[in-house]
């Protein structure tokens, strides 16, 4: 477990360094462009690069402190009080005690689909968010299983990495888009330049442009590698250790697998949910390689194995529980 925390810290630092390097390079590119426009000796490349570097550092610190709030904003989650949701409140309070964690804040997403996620920068500043559909359709043991799974993510510091990735990678994607577009639409004018420097400049921009075309899938790959699917299995088994009842989470996953869509979710936030917020996963091998989540059936199988089949609900029982929705 401690290796896992250390590895998550390393990855977080790596992502931040990559982000700062990218923004600095971007600043240098703009400066270089200005130098080219106003004469090589004007020194814009250095000035803009330093400015970009400072901005990147500020943005990184900002995302460290505010990423969870940004994530909650994106998903439209709302904090609930003890009076509103006493059942939920006592479950989260009790389970966080069992996990040896400070109590996280509870947020609810007004969505009929069943899903959940955790976010925050550390256990003292953490959030567990659940959809309305999840609260309404799961029994106590199942809900405890899901909450314990999310608490394990908090304990393993998966949440910090996940939130930082969403904010920083999101910004890089936006900037990439801006450069890419300016490259496409501004390319014609630049190529008409008659100076010899223009030739070199065009080549450099061409290289940047090509790099960005390659970059987007690489960014996607970084997300998928950084949030390895192994951590879902780990959170499942740690969660089961907190509740001492693996069947609860197994049954919950069976239900979640039926209807897990979250409308407010997107590609950037996909990886932090307990199950894919885009509904049932495709079975093909190739798309399977790029899934952020391991197949739910495999996770259920492992939990059933852990529970020695005690308390596992049959498909009929799950369907009977679910009959009143939709």
């Amino acid at each position: 477990m401690f290796e896992n925390i250390a590895s998550n810290r390393r990855k977080t630092v790596l992502i931040i360094i990559l982000f700062i390097a990218f923004i600095t390079a971007f600043g240098f590119a703009i400066g270089y462009y200005l130098d080219y426009r106003f004469g090589i000796s004007s020194g814009y490349s250095i000035i803009v690069m330093i400015f970009a570097f400072i901005l990147a550092v500020i943005l990184s610190f900002g995302s460290y402190y505010y990423s969870d709030k940004i994530v909650l904003q994106i998903t439209g989650a709302r904090q609930v009080s003890k009076e509103e949701q006493p059942r939920l409140y006592y479950m989260v309070e009790g389970l966080s005690m069992a996990a040896g964690l400070p109590m996280p804040k509870i947020y609810v997403l007004e969505e009929p689909g069943m899903n959940a996620f955790a976010t925050g920068r550390n256990p003292s500043n953490s959030v567990v968010a659940l959809t309305r559909g999840l609260i309404n359709n799961l029994d106590d043991n199942e809900l405890k299983g899901v909450i314990a799974h999310e608490l394990s993510h908090i304990k393993n510091y998966d949440i910090l990495l996940g939130a930082i990735i969403i904010v920083l990678v999101g910004m890089v994607t936006i900037i990439s888009n801006i450069i890419f577009r300016s490259f496409i639409f501004g390319g014609g004018r630049r190529s008409s330049s008659k100076s010899t420097g223009g030739g070199i400049f065009n080549i450099i921009f061409l290289v940047i442009g090509l790099a960005l075309i390659i970059l987007s899938p690489i960014i996607a790959m970084i997300i998928r590698l950084a949030v390895s699917r192994q951590r879902e299995y780990l959170a499942d088994s740690n969660g089961a250790l907190i509740t001492r009842y693996p069947a609860g989470l197994a049954n919950a996953l069976k239900k979640i697998n039926i209807y897990s869509e979250v409308k407010k979710a997107n590609n950037a936030t996909e990886h932090m949910f307990i199950a894919s917020p885009f509904g049932k996963e495709t079975k093909s091998f190739f798309s399977g390689l790029f899934n952020t989540h391991p197949p739910v059936s495999e996770r259920i199988k492992r939990l059933e194995h852990m529970s020695l089949q005690i308390g596992i609900k049959s498909d009929e029982e799950i369907m009977a529980d679910m009959r009143h929705i939709k």
Partner: protein
């Protein structure tokens, strides 16, 4: 010549340094486990206090509807006072088991009073007490896990060397003794 004299000295010094570092690591490990137990205990304590605060309230509410269940009510109060006075883990767990047991019989009694069951204040109290009951179970789980880790560490090699020297003694588990207390309090409305 000089190297031949120095080599064994250096080796001995290196070994001593390594052993010292290992000893510090083990000692610190034991201390942090012991602190975790204290922290876990304070969490149980918080939940227990909450329950103590709710009980007089509950008793008053029940009195209004079921005054002649005096015996049951007195038992609840007595168990609560025992819990407040308890100083050792053993006494505390005994008292808590008693509170859980007496509350259970109080809830059973309340079943016979439809007016009481319809009382909103009573319903809310029951809800809170049930929540706290569950929380105590989870807090106890974490406490006992921590005690298990700590006790194992100071009773096995090499931790046991330190246990004697620095006076680390095994801690007590928070146990459930009475069989009827093992089930969480279930309430039907």
């Amino acid at each position: 010549m000089l190297a031949a004299i120095l080599a064994p000295i250096i080796i001995v010094v290196v070994i001593i340094v390594i052993l010292l570092i290992a000893a510090i690591a083990i000692y610190n490990g034991i201390i942090s486990l012991r602190n975790r137990i204290d922290n876990a205990w304070s969490q149980i304590d918080v939940q227990l206090r909450k329950r103590y605060d709710l009980i007089p309230n509950l008793v008053e509410t029940v009195k209004g509807y079921a005054a002649h269940e005096k015996e049951t009510l007195e038992k609840v109060i007595k168990a609560r006072n025992m819990g407040i006075d308890a100083t050792t883990v053993e006494d505390q767990s005994k008292a808590e088991n008693m509170i859980t047991g007496t509350l259970k019989s109080l809830f059973a009694v309340s079943e016979q009073y439809p007016d009481l069951k319809a009382d909103q204040h009573f319903t809310r109290l029951m809800e809170e007490l049930n929540g706290i009951e569950g929380n105590i179970a989870f807090a106890r789980q974490f406490y006992n896990d921590s005690v298990l880790q700590y006790n194992t560490k100071i009773q096995t090699f090499p931790g046991n060397i330190f246990a004697g020297r620095f006076g680390f003694t095994p801690r007590q588990y928070f146990e459930i003794e009475e069989p009827q207390a093992k089930e969480p309090v279930k309430v039907q409305f």
